[in-house]
Symmetry: C2
Subunit: 340 residues, 2 copies
């Protein structure tokens, strides 16, 4: 059982392929009578245009490519969810690839996508990506490109980000306004830029409110994906400072949750003895007890916005309208729960 083609319809109706094609595309130089015959037969045979042929002919695939570091992550799966829904609504499909934080793989995947003839590409760069030739290649091929979350500032394309620095600043300011003064920070060393920005926001908030910045209150956490680091750092924090610390701002929720486990175990009251704010607002933050205040990155909004920008650029390209690239900052939101 093979799909019907224009040729099949033409043969059955005793007319040319050209006429069939034009009838289906509602060209004015086909009589209503033939149009009707063609349409009904096409309907009956379940005709759908062969996408390879259209791709070859028109260089459009109704497909976009998406590269992210990893799928198994609340933030990224939500972003993908949004992107796929946007694509769906435009009858587009999405090819998803995971760079797995591997630069070489990311490069190869870009080649695969270009070769596949995707109409546009969305990327959140791997942490290891320092060289952007593969991105330049996309631009040189005139394929619309939108970077999100982990971007390359130097590239000439649209970019969607959050303001890590401001988000951190707001969170720490909230703690200060609540009366907390000795505020520790669990920072990460991975994701350099995000981690650095959050640290800078933390620091600036302290300075702007005339609170001395104490480097001894900053703990470097190696492992971004293991919550035991939060537990251990909390233990170290208590050992080093004891009562002389009243809040923690962590670079992500996982570390905060590890810390909460430690405090629960040691009967240290949250938020009375120590308050916490995390970052990312994972689903877990609302589930844990006490629930964790955190910064929502609006992952869905980010995916949605990125996709919308991309589809706009794709539209412009097909219509021959020049596009100017946008840089959009998605607002973050401080979600206050029981931990502070």
């Amino acid at each position: 059982m093979k799909p019907a083609t224009l040729k099949d319809i033409a043969k059955q109706l005793g007319i040319s392929i050209t006429t069939v094609s034009k009838a289906l595309k509602n060209y004015p130089d086909v009589s209503e009578k033939t149009k009707f015959k063609v349409r009904t037969l096409a309907e009956q045979l379940n005709y759908v245009p062969n996408s390879f042929a259209i791709g070859l002919r028109k260089q459009e695939s109704k497909t976009i490519g998406v590269i992210i570091p990893t799928m198994v992550h609340y933030f990224f799966s939500t972003v993908i969810d949004a992107i796929l829904k946007e694509a769906e609504s435009r009858n587009y499909m999405g090819i998803i690839m995971q760079s797995n934080e591997d630069y070489e793989l990311e490069k190869k995947q870009v080649d695969l996508l270009l070769n596949k003839g995707v109409d546009g590409i969305l990327i959140s760069l791997s942490n290891k990506t320092r060289d952007f030739k593969h991105l330049q290649k996309i631009i040189d091929y005139h394929v619309p490109l939108v970077l999100f979350d982990k971007i390359a500032k130097v590239m000439d394309c649209s970019k969607i980000v959050i303001d890590d620095r401001k988000a951190a600043y707001d969170a720490v300011t909230y703690l200060i306004n609540k009366g907390y003064r000795r505020i520790a920070h669990f920072r990460g060393d991975l994701n350099p830029q995000n981690s650095i920005d959050r640290f800078l926001g933390y620091k600036k908030a302290l300075l702007d409110h005339n609170i001395e910045f104490d480097p001894k209150l900053v703990y470097l956490c190696d492992n971004n994906s293991d919550f035991t680091d939060g537990y251990n750092s909390a233990a170290k924090l208590m050992h080093d400072h004891g009562d002389n610390v009243d809040a923690i701002f962590t670079v992500n929720d996982l570390l905060a949750i590890g810390a909460i486990n430690y405090f629960n175990e040691k009967q240290i009251k949250i938020p009375d003895q120590i308050a916490l704010i995390g970052f990312s607002n994972w689903f877990m933050a609302s589930v844990i007890s006490p629930s964790l205040s955190s910064i929502d990155q609006h992952a869905y909004k980010m995916g949605e916005t990125s996709a919308k920008i991309l589809f706009n650029e794709i539209d412009c390209k097909f219509k021959g309208i020049p596009v100017k690239h946008e840089k959009i900052t998605i607002d973050t939101e401080l979600i206050i729960r029981d931990s502070c």
Copy 2:
């Protein structure tokens, strides 16, 4: 800047397109000298075959389609992770679609994938899917199809599942062997088959160990995605039975976590006063305090196996070898932590 084609190479070398094509495919009737010239120039021009042309010519797309109910879920994102990695290793790409538990959408997506000319399709059916004509269409088109997790028993294709009933049976048996006797069950009404099978496994474990099945210990939880239901059911359970219940087996981890929150709040000791086992082994289970015993569904293994079976069928199809469909049950694993 456009990708190089066979024609470009042929023109530059003053030979025919045919010879270029054959040189690159290492045909025996091309001299080593020309092969060398062609290959070096192809390398230099970064030649990659146009995938539309190949698709049109050979009816193969090096692409598979995957339809799942939703992306934003630890289980499914892990499955997708595995599938994409398997695809990657074979130079295949994956088109991912979310049915969003909507039958009509699932049907439309199947059509889109078939039209796109994917080489194979993986589906975890939506809960609302009762009619399988769209799946039959895939089979009629001779496109390899593998169903996983949520399957349709009647379809003539390969299927990958877990044994919900056995998994539940094992978990409850573990509790019984540990000395627990009054074991409650928080069941769900969504995902009918899974939910039912887990309930049946629970019941059979009790009967097989001469423990009376008490319907009053079974609580129906409406909402699968809100953990407050676990909290509330735990409260109700304590109200109804108080000390006369010593363990709970929940249909998923979220309900268990809600319950844990309640018990922590009320200072009810886990596992001394009440023990818990969840289902699915979400990441959260290991993070919460006390950590939650649960049943691991081996999502990665399921994705990996499904993809391997699919690619095998694709291979067979291209080689003209007949395939016989497999039904594989992925072993579950009882993960014991502090909650029991």
